[in-house]
């Protein structure tokens, strides 16, 4: 189960820089996610780790060993592809046995692994079926079993849940995480779905335009975004631009408290769910729109031509047009680094 080091990796396709000097460390046995919008370079980086692409510059190390020039078939990795990439002419059982056979494992050991994985992932009743006879979720499980059958040190996931419906996605997401803990492998997971990244990862690397915008634990990256892009891409965020004076920024809604020194111009960010509705609140606004989401309410509150998004418990009954008062905890407000004058 190797740890992975990416050192100054750059990748250029023609005139386009897909990755620019990316460095990161994936500890042994960790579950890390490369998160970002389309074209940010996350899949390119995954393909470089797998060996399908050779970087224009930089190195990939597994446990300190340089594997940059190593062919994919010689690396201790296995990939779960977005399209599953199952072998259409082979049955479920044969698909799973493909890797162990290539690695020339003994027949008994191959059979043991194949049977074990099929039972573990509920595929035993489908052993003799061809991939086109399976549902999307079943195909995804076959892809996962096929990758795990070679007992890889590193499993690479390339948006493996993007073709599944929402309910199945939640289920397979939990299965993957459980399996990673139980089997024990280093996982690098690529997704553009921030909820998936936050729910599964030990560490999230947020990529934008070929560089790492921010990295950290899911809580840290969600509640302490460092840049406007990070704040905006991961979940909903309320942003204010203006001067900070006396530990607050004056806004049309009232003073937003912040734990920061006075400055001429800064950008503040806070999440909609940190808000506290209270009659004695220092901030106020008019409810322009209410969206009931089941467990919570999305309130779109306006003042001075600006709109904020607040999330409160779904048990509240707040009519559109009402004026509400609220507070924002000082510790929940962060100053962004790429604010207007930062």
């Amino acid at each position: 189960m190797p740890g992975i080091d990416i050192e100054g990796v750059a990748m250029r396709f023609g005139q386009v820089d897909a990755l620019k000097d990316v460095s990161l460390r994936v500890p042994e046995g960790a579950f890390v996610t490369l998160l970002g919008p389309s074209g940010c370079g996350k899949t390119t980086l995954l393909n470089i780790i797998a060996g399908f692409l050779a970087p224009t510059r930089g190195r990939v190390l597994f446990d300190g060993q340089d594997v940059t020039g190593l062919r994919p078939e010689a690396r201790d990795t296995a990939m779960c592809f977005q399209s599953y990439a199952l072998f259409p002419h082979l049955s479920v059982q044969e698909n799973i046995a493909f890797g162990p056979r290539q690695k020339r494992l003994e027949r008994a050991e191959t059979a043991r692994r194949v049977t074990g994985l099929m039972e573990q992932l509920g595929l035993a009743p489908h052993a003799a079926k061809l991939p086109n006879a399976l549902s999307g979720g079943q195909q995804q499980r076959v892809a996962l079993a096929r990758a795990l059958a070679v007992a890889p040190g590193v499993v690479l996931f390339d948006e493996p849940l993007s073709n599944l419906d929402a309910k199945l996605r939640d289920q397979v997401r939990t299965e993957i995480r459980d399996l990673q803990r139980r089997v024990g492998f280093t996982a690098v997971y690529v997704t553009h779905d921030q909820a998936e990244a936050l729910a599964m990862s030990d560490t999230v690397f947020l990529l934008n335009g070929g560089v790492i915008e921010q990295s950290g634990g899911p809580r840290d990256i969600y509640f302490r975004p460092r840049t406007r892009f990070a704040a905006d891409f991961i979940g909903a965020a309320n942003l204010h631009d203006g001067p900070i004076s006396g530990g607050a920024m004056d806004t049309p809604f009232g003073p937003v408290p912040v734990d920061a020194p006075d400055a001429a111009h800064r950008t503040l960010c806070w999440r909609p769910e940190v808000v506290r509705l209270t009659e004695a609140g220092a901030l106020s606004g008019k409810v322009a729109h209410v969206a009931f989401q089941g467990g919570w309410l999305d309130l779109f509150v306006t003042a001075g031509g600006q709109t904020l998004r607040l999330q409160v418990s779904g048990t509240h009954d707040i009519p559109e047009g009402a004026t509400i008062r609220f507070d924002i905890p000082r510790e929940a407000v962060v100053v962004l680094k790429d604010g207007a004058n930062a």
Binding site: A50, F52, R71, P72, E73, T77, A78, M79, F81, Q82, S83, A85, L86, F87, P88, H89, F98, G99, Q102, K103, R146, A147, V150
Partner: protein, 285 residues
């Protein structure tokens, strides 16, 4: 109206025409080979024409020659087209031009192709003139109508290559990159990827190409009559000889025609078995 009847009526104009025309032609040829539809005498159901043909050396020679040229041409064409299709799977500078050039023979009519080849290999052709100019020979050598039919097979391969290439290229390009990458990722090197992924996924195209080429070449008249060995007949040239040129014997020609259909059928079965056997053997190896 029941759905099945409605479907049958809808298909009847196109499908029905094909079935009727084919059945008529096949029935007529088979019946004629057994003495019916006799243009030179009385209709008489008999095995005589088959018995007489089986006793004729020319018939067996023509059958053997047609089978040999068709099999050799199909195998050589596939052997050339397969690596080319694999090589041109991914676009690169000049690959589209190469693909277009490989397909060009398909647009050249057979007789024009023969004319072009004769310009190259005839006694006064480019090759002989070049050999003499280089001093490699003092008189023209026989390249056209050669004893072993090398010129004929070369021409057949040239003419059939686009068909094989088109079928194989389509099949090879239809294999998604992630499937090949998955095999690679699971430890399969280039040879294993070809044996266990590419070959099984392109077997049907290979099978179709080999059968179509075999049937095309087995039934060839033009190339055999113009550049084939003068002492050999193909089944097609023999059939024409019986039917018109020499004897006006329609019943004998029908026997040869039915034999040609039988040869095509046997070729299809043999190539199907061959491709499937090869695929299984490669997967197991």
């Amino acid at each position: 109206m029941p759905k099945a009847v409605k479907l049958a009526l809808l298909l009847a104009p196109a499908f029905g025409l094909v079935v009727v025309m084919m059945s008529l032609v096949i029935w007529r040829a088979v019946a004629q080979s057994f003495g019916l539809y006799n243009f030179n005498g009385e209709d008489l159901l008999s095995l005589r024409h088959w018995a007489e043909m089986f006793a004729t050396r020319r018939y067996w020679n023509a059958l053997e020659w047609s089978a040999y040229v068709a099999t050799t041409s199909a195998l050589i064409t596939l052997a050339i087209a397969y690596p080319l299709a694999l090589w041109l799977r991914k676009p690169f500078a000049g690959s589209y031009l190469l693909s277009a050039l490989l397909k060009a023979p398909y647009f050249v009519p057979g007789l024009v192709a023969v004319f072009l080849l004769l310009n190259v290999i005839a006694f006064h052709g480019i090759v002989n003139q070049a050999l003499m100019w280089l001093g490699l020979t003092d008189r023209p050598i026989r390249l056209q109508n050669d004893r072993n039919g090398y010129g004929l097979i070369a021409l057949q391969v040239w003419k059939q290559l686009p068909l094989a290439f088109l079928l194989l290229q389509g099949a090879v390009q239809a294999i998604p990159d992630p499937v090949l990458n998955a095999a690679r990722d699971l430890g399969a090197g280039p040879v294993a990827r070809f044996r266990k992924v590419v070959l099984p996924l392109t077997a049907r195209a290979m099978q179709a190409a080999s059968i179509l080429i075999f049937i095309n070449v087995a039934g060839d008249f033009t190339f055999q009559a113009t550049v084939g060995p003068t002492r050999e007949n193909s089944l097609a040239t023999l059939m024409v000889q019986y039917q018109g040129t020499n004897y006006g014997d329609w019943n004998a020609a029908a026997v040869v025609g039915v034999t040609l259909m039988g040869l095509s059928l046997v070729g299809a079965v043999v190539f199907t078995a061959l491709v499937q056997g090869l695929t299984r053997a490669m997967e197991r190896a």
